[in-house]
Amino acid sequence: MSLNLVLSFLSAFIMVVFTIYVLQRYFVRRKLYFLFWGLGLAMFAIGSFSEAYLALSWNKWVFFCWYLFGAVLTAAWIGQGTVYLLAKQRTAQITTVVLVTASLIATILLLTTMVDLTESIFSVSEPISEQYQEIMPAIAEGGIVRLTTPFFNIYGLITLVGGALYSTYLFWRKRILPNRVIGNVLIAVGALTIASASTLTRFGYGSYLYLGELFAAILMFSGFLVAAAPGPIRSKKDSTGTTPV
């Protein structure tokens, strides 16, 4: 059993638990940001499970899931939840229409690419993150879906990381809700970890992706739990300001 297999399964497991936790909150509170976060996290989990599978065997539809959900869509869909949290309803609705349309286009483009995969190159001895560029056709040779990834990732960076940093700044400036300051910092660091690992993968350093995914899963879930936790109980002394909290 390879280390990458273990890391992928761990990431997937954490993300499944995280997804269930967030979607439960959606069904209770009916806030759309929980729904989009949950959908994005589910995509992350599907990507991680696919990665784990590809560490054992090849299946082109598992590869399809890995690339579509892991590489293309995850960041943008998680970020869309943050758009619903922070932006006006109208803005969130318009960007959702754009995101869904773009996601459908990316899915169709990837489907058309499936016939041009060089499956014979695949080897279980290497991580899929270090082989996918040879397996997929070049952009000029039918692999145009590869151009969609930067779009989604830029959008995900701006909305998810930018949103977390903006929230951190708001609470910090007002000197309130310290748990949300820490929680959003953890979420931002987690998202930047996976974004950095994905960028390194693009430049041929795919071995960092698995560890990056695991750290991202741990940090983002921790951040969410910290941000959602109630504040510490104030003692009688604390209420007078004589004892630090």
Partner: protein, 55 residues
């Protein structure tokens, strides 16, 4: 009414304010915000560079 007051006094209130004179919140958090913002901007630039064919 007195019973309600007594109940309120027994239930401790949750504090939602940052501690005063905290090195973490006064210094580290703003530095973190800047550093993470710079990293985010760099990653966006790299992604844009990939899109435009520079990499």
């Amino acid at each position: 009414m007195e019973e309600n007051r007594a109940k309120q006094q027994k239930v401790p209130k949750r504090t939602n304010k940052m501690p005063e004179d905290s090195l973490f919140y006064d210094k580290l958090v703003p530095i973190l915000l800047i550093v993470l913002g710079v990293i985010m901007a760099l990653l966006i630039l790299i992604a844009a560079g990939i899109l435009l064919g520079f990499f």
